[in-house]
Symmetry: C2
Subunit: 151 residues, 2 copies
């Protein structure tokens, strides 16, 4: 009975401390890639600080059709944000990692109170540098056929 | 010298047979999740065969604002595609896996010759069933600030 009691007390504590069973353990390199992208994203999109963000950039091959290739393309985008949407915010709602790829689900708002856009960003990291970026940006429509939100 | 010759012949063959170093080895469950999503996507989006696609569906919590929740939402979407865009095609250009998540980069074309849309689909698979879906769909613009395409 005593053992049973210990188990009944300890199990929920253990369960709360452990990641959900569905989550896999990242390799140290994957963990590092995730941290690089999360810090880069915060510096670039929310702090709008090109100097701080650009230290993470390698070649930065750009697949977003609105941005030029390389770090200079990011500089231009951050300048545009600072000037046109200084209060814009990008909230990461989900992070996935597959080796060198870090994938972010993001809710981006240009002006406070906007519905905003539902974005997926894909970054490829190599040797601790962000080498490539793809994304899809979809404005959130006013009405939805379900009640789950886009996030 | 003989050993060196063997190595020099064998190395390129081995290199060609192995995945790139950057790719990580998926667990058997991740490999299965990937296969499920790829077959589901082909059956649903290209074959437009709801019966074949729906065998993979669990609850199918839907975050695409145009589709109703659950398998019935997919049925409605496939019927819409068959009727309105019978020649639509979805080409997967990149596949990423993180545990229960399978992420697809997709080039979707509704009519042959269209520029089409750049999509990211995210699926959550649990016990061999697709339980949840998120996406962002962006029409490909006519002009781009870089020459890399969106894929």
């Amino acid at each position: 009975m005593k053992l049973m009691k210990v188990v009944m007390i300890a199990l929920p504590i253990l369960a709360a401390a452990m990641p959900a069973l569905a989550e896999r353990a990242y390799s140290p390199e994957e963990q590092k890639n995730k941290e690089i992208v999360l810090d880069f994203y915060q510096k670039a999109l929310n702090d709008k600080d090109f100097e701080a963000a650009s230290k993470y950039l390698g070649k930065y091959i750009q697949h977003n059709p609105l941005a030029a290739d390389g770090p200079e393309g990011l500089r231009g985008f951050i300048e545009f944000l600072k000037k046109t949407y200084p209060h814009s915010k990008s909230e990461i709602t989900r992070v996935m990692v597959d080796g060198n790829y870090v994938i972010l689900r993001v809710h981006a708002i240009r002006e406070p109170g906007d519905r905003g856009s539902a974005i997926v960003d894909i970054f490829r990291v190599e040797n601790n540098k962000i080498e490539e970026h793809w994304d899809s940006v979809q404005p959130i429509p006013e009405k939805s056929a379900n009640t789950n939100t886009m996030f």
